[in-house]
Symmetry: D2
Subunit: 336 residues, 4 copies
C-alpha cells in the first residue's frame, strides 16, 4: 500500500448553510470570526490566530450539511499521496485543481473516506493578515483558531484503525470492558484534530473552535443570553473529562454544532500513552458530573458526498442492551 499523506492539522470546514445573513450574524457578530472574503455565495472566515485564508467556509445552499472537512498536508506531494492512499482503498476520489475548488485553496484532492465523510487534503493556501495582536478587532467569542472535528460513525474500532493508518495518534478513549466507544485522535500535538464517537453515521457532530482563556467561553454564553438568543446555547459551559477542556456547545442558525473550547494539553511526545476513560466514569463527559442534554446525543449534521448529495446513514454495531452509546460514549445518536 502507498504511504499515507503527512497530515499537519485539521485546517478548515466547509458547511452548506441556508441563510448566509443569519450565518453571518452567528459566526461573525457573535463568534467574532474575521471575514477574509465574502460574496453572494459564501463567507470565508478565520480566527484571530490563524494566518491562512480561512478555517470556516459557509456556502449558501438549499439544505444544511457538511460539504467537506479539510486537512492540510506537509508538502505538495502529500496531495498526490492522499490521492493514491484513498484510491487504493476504493474510496471515491476527486482531484480539485487550484482555482476550481474552495477559494484560497490550491491544488487539492477530495475523497469520501472509509467513514463516509467528505474530506479534502491540500497543501497550498493563501495567507491572511496577522491579527494575533490586533486585540482591538477581537470581539464576541474571540475565536483564536479551529481546533478539531467530531465525527459520528457506527464502527469505532474500524474508524480508529483507519485514522491510525493515516498516521494519527490517539490521546484519549472511552472504553468498556471489550468495546471502544470513542477515540480522540491527533496530528498536531494537542488532544485532537478529530474525535470519533459511536453512533449512526456518517454525521458531523461538531467542530471545535479554540479560544485562549475560559472567560472568553463564559462571555460567549453571556452575549447569547444578552440578546435573548440563549436557545443557541445547547450544552455547557462545562469542563470535559476527556481532553480537560472548558467548553460551551452552540448551535448555529442551521443547527450545525460549534464547540467553543479552551485549554487542552501537549500530546507530542513519542511515547505519549493513550488515556483511557471507563464508560462508567461519570466524569468522562462532564468532569463536574452534570447531565448532558438529549439533543447533544441525538442531533448532528448530515454530510455530503463528492457530488453534494446527502450520504446515507448506517446504524451502530455495538450491542447496546446494557449501555446506551452516543456521541461521547453514552446515549444514542439518531438522524436529526
Amino acid at each position: 500500500m502507498s504511504a499515507a499523506p503527512d497530515v499537519v492539522r485539521s485546517a478548515y470546514v466547509q458547511l452548506a448553510v441556508t441563510d448566509l445573513a443569519a450565518s453571518r450574524w452567528f459566526w461573525v457578530d457573535m463568534l467574532g470570526m474575521h471575514v477574509q472574503h465574502e460574496d453572494e455565495d459564501a463567507l470565508y472566515l478565520r480566527g484571530s490566530d490563524e494566518l491562512t485564508h480561512h478555517s470556516v467556509v459557509l456556502r449558501a445552499a438549499p439544505v444544511a450539511a457538511l460539504d467537506h472537512l479539510a486537512y492540510r498536508v506537509r508538502a505538495p506531494e502529500d496531495v498526490d499521496r492522499a490521492e493514491r492512499f484513498f484510491a487504493e482503498r476504493g474510496c471515491p476520489v476527486r482531484r480539485v485543481p487550484a482555482g476550481t475548488g474552495t477559494r484560497g485553496v490550491g491544488d487539492a484532492v477530495r475523497v469520501v473516506d472509509p467513514l463516509g465523510v467528505p474530506v479534502e487534503f491540500f497543501h497550498d493556501i493563501a495567507r491572511g493578515e496577522r491579527l494575533i495582536q490586533r486585540y482591538d478587532l477581537h470581539r464576541g467569542a474571540q475565536i483564536a483558531r479551529l481546533d478539531h472535528y467530531n465525527i459520528c460513525t457506527p464502527d469505532i474500532p474500524a474508524a480508529y484503525e483507519y485514522y491510525r493508518s493515516l498516521g494519527f495518534g490517539c490521546s484519549e478513549t472511552i472504553e468498556g470492558e471489550h468495546e471502544l466507544y470513542a477515540a480522540w485522535m491527533f496530528r498536531k500535538p494537542t488532544v485532537h484534530d478529530v474525535a470519533l464517537t459511536h453512533g449512526p453515521g456518517p454525521y458531523l457532530h461538531h467542530i471545535g473552535m479554540a479560544t485562549h482563556e475560559s472567560h472568553q467561553v463564559l462571555h460567549t454564553a453571556d452575549i447569547f443570553g444578552a440578546l435573548g438568543k440563549e436557545h443557541h446555547i445547547e450544552r455547557g459551559p462545562g469542563r470535559h473529562g476527556v481532553s480537560n477542556a472548558f467548553y460551551v456547545y452552540l448551535r448555529d442558525p442551521d443547527g450545525h454544532r460549534v464547540e467553543v473550547y479552551t485549554s487542552d494539553y501537549f500530546t507530542g511526545d513519542p511515547d505519549y500513552e493513550t488515556h483511557r476513560w471507563n464508560v462508567h466514569d461519570d466524569r468522562r463527559r462532564d468532569f463536574w458530573g452534570n447531565a448532558v442534554i438529549e439533543s447533544w446525543y441525538k442531533e448532528a449534521s448530515p454530510v455530503h458526498d463528492l457530488d453534494g448529495r446527502l450520504q446515507p446513514i448506517a446504524e451502530g454495531n455495538l450491542d447496546e442492551s446494557s449501555i446506551k452509546v452516543g456521541a461521547d460514549g453514552l446515549g444514542i445518536v439518531k438522524p436529526s
Copy 2:
C-alpha cells in the same frame, strides 16, 4: 410600633452538622475557608476578606439543620431595637448575653421571625486577622466573604412586607401578572443580603459565599471533579439572570446548599428601581437557558426554633394550577 434595628449586613450562619470532620473537609479543605477557632463541638470559619470572627459556624449535632442566621446591626442599641421590634410582632424573642451564645459574638438577641426562621441580631463581634492580601493562604474556592441567605417561604408578599419593615431594599423580583414569586432584598448595597423564594417553608435554601472572579468558581468545580466528589456539585456553574452573578451550587456533607457566587452590582442609590423579571422569562433562573436540576427545587435545609427543635413546615399559598412555583419562581420545593 418601635423603630426597626439598623441592619448592616448578613453576617453569619450557624449550621447544625452531623460530622465535623466531613464538614471540615468540605468547608476548609475544599472551599478554602479559614479556621478562626475549632473545638470538639464546633468550627468557626471565615472568608479571606472578612475581618470579623466568623461568617460560618458549624456546630456538631445529631440532625442537620439551620441553627440561626445572623444580621449585624449598626450600634449596640440596635440589639435592643431588634428585641422590641420582634416582641411587638409577637415573635419568640430571646436575649443572648455576651459569653452565652455563639463564640466571638457579643450581646445578641435571637428571634423566630415572622417567616419562622431563627435569626440573630448582634453588634459586637471579635476581630479576625486581616488575610485579604495573604494570597499564600487563599486555597480551594478562595471564598472572600459571606454574601447572602436564601429562604423558602410560602407567602412571598408577606415576607417581602416583613423585610421592607426591617428596612431592606428590593433589588430584583420574579413576578407573574398578579403574583410575586421571589424577591432579592438588601441592606448592604449589593443585590441581596437575603433572597425570599416561594415554596413550603421555613427552609434555608442556601447560603451564598462570594469569590472575586469567575475562574475561582470554575476552580471550585474542578477540585471536586478532581477528587471524584462531583456529586457535591448540584447545579452550574452558570450565570444567573437575576443578580447577574456567576455561580455554582454545592451540597455540603449534610446536604446544606452553598452557592459560590461572584460579581453582582451596586444597588445603593436612593432611587434604585427594583428590576422585575417575568416568571416566563427563561433566563431569570439561568441566563443561558440551561435547565435547573430538580433537587435544587425540591430540597432545602430545615430550620430550628429557639430551642433547637425543627420548625414545622407550611405549604405554599399560590394557585399553582398553571405555574409551578419554587425556589426561583418555577418548580416546587418539597421537604427533603
Copy 3:
C-alpha cells in the same frame, strides 16, 4: 455648625477637554463607555452597571482641567445641607438649579471645598437604560462604573479632617512615624470614594473606573498596544498594596489620568479599622514591588474654580528632607 449632607457615593466627574473627537475615541471606543447623550459641546458617558445618566462628562474647552467632581446625596434636603455646610466654612458656594447645570442632573450646589477642589452635590439625576446584562454592548475596557477620585493636596491631616467632617470613613492610610501621607476615604462601603494624597495642589490626580475582573484590565492594555497607542498606558497593570485592587493607569488625550481598577473589599462594618501602611513598606504603592514611573508622581490635572478659572497651586507642608512624598506617599508631585 450645620449637619453634613448625607453623601451616598462619588457619582460623576466633569472634565474640560480640548478635542471631543479624540476624547470620544479614548473614552468610548477604547474604554467602552456608553454614550448617553452627545452634542457639539459635550459627551455624557456611563459604565455598563450604572443606572444613572452619566458618570463622566467631557466638555469641550480651550484648556484641559477638572470642571468639578460630584457626590450624590441621599435626599433632596441634603443639597440644602451641603449649601449650609460649605457656606458656614467660608467656601465659595453656588446654587445650580435643575436645568441650568450639567444635563441630566437636578437641583445642585457647587462649592470650592477646603482643599480648593470644585465639587457638586446633587440628589436628582435622570436614569439610564439598564445595560448590566447587555453583554453584547460591553466593549473595550468594559468599564462597569466610576469608583473613586484621587486628589493631590498639600495638607493631608487637614484634608482628612475635612472629609471626616463630611461623614467619610477611612479605609487605609500611608503613614510615617508622625506624618500622614495619604488617606483612602469612603461613603459607599468600598475602599474609597476619594483618595487624598500629599503633594502640591489642588490637582485631580486621577479618576478610578471599575471593571469586574482582572482580564478586563489586561484587555484594556492590550487594545492600546494593538493600535500602537501604548503611550496612553502610563503605569501598570499592577496590584496595589493599598486597596488590593488590580489596576492600569491610562492618560486620556488631554493627559487626564484614568485608573481602570478591579476588586477591592467591603468596608461597611461599623467598627471597620483603618489599615495603616508604613511609608517604608515597598508594597504600599505596588504590591509586587515594581517601581512607579516618574510622571505618575509629577503630573496631574489642574482644577477649576466656580467660574472656570484655574485654581492656584499651593506647595506641600511636610518636611521632606528625609522622605520624598508624592501621590502615594513617596516622590514629589509637581505642577504639570
Copy 4:
C-alpha cells in the same frame, strides 16, 4: 555531514543551586511544581501537565549555574545521530549511558554546543503520574509545563544558523536594517523551544514555564507580595510583543531567572512565515510600552562545561555605537 537528530521539544533543565531547601520553597511551595523525586543531592520536579519524570532538576552545588538543558528526541537512534552531529562539528561530546546521568533519563548524549551551552539529547525518560486533572494538587503558580529556554550569545546569525541546522523553525525575530538581534526558534509548534538573544555569552537568560491562563500569572506575583518576597519578582507581569505571551519574570534564590508564561500561538504550518520586529518598535519587548528593568538585561546564569567548570564568556560582535543590544534586542547583558 550527518543528519540532525529529530528534536521533539525542550524537555528539562538541570540547574546547580546552592541551597536545596531555599530552592524547594521557591519551586515547590511558590511555583507549585510537583516533586517526583527528592534526595539529599537533588530535587526532580515537573508541572501538572507533564507526563514525564521531570522538567526541572535542581542539583545541590557550591556555585549556581546551568548544568545543562535537554532536548527530547523522537527515537533512540536520534541520540546516536546527535552524537555524530556534534562530533562532526568538533564540539565536546560525551555519551551518558542510562543509569549514569540524570535520574529518570535513559541513554543520552551531552555536548557543548557551538554556542558554548551544555545540552543533553535523550529519548527515554521515566513516566510521571497523570496530574492534569488533579486540580486539588495544583497550587501556587500552577505551572503546567516547561515551555522554552532563553540563551544569551554574542553572535546571533551564527546561533540562528546552528539551530536551523538542527531543524528548528524561526517564529519571530528582532532585527535592525542589517542586523539580527534575537530569534525565537521551535520544534514543537509553539513560538519557541529556545530563544537566542544577543549579548555576552554563553549565559542562560531564563527558562520559561507555562501556565494555562493569565490569572495564574497574576496569582504568582500575588503570593510573592503576600509573603513580603516581592524582590523575587524582577519584571512584569506584562505582555510580550514578541510571542504575544503574558509573563512575569522571577528570580529564584540563586538568581536563576524563571519566566511564568501563558498563551502563545500555533506555528506548525509548513509555510509559517517568521514575524520580524523592528528593533525600534517599542512594543517588541513590552507590548504595553513599559520599560524593562536593567537587571533583566544585565544578569544571567553562567553555564557549565561537560565537567562542571564554568564556561568562559565572549563579548558581543555587533557594532553597538548607535543601538545598545541585549537580551531582547536593546540593552547590554553583562556577566552577573
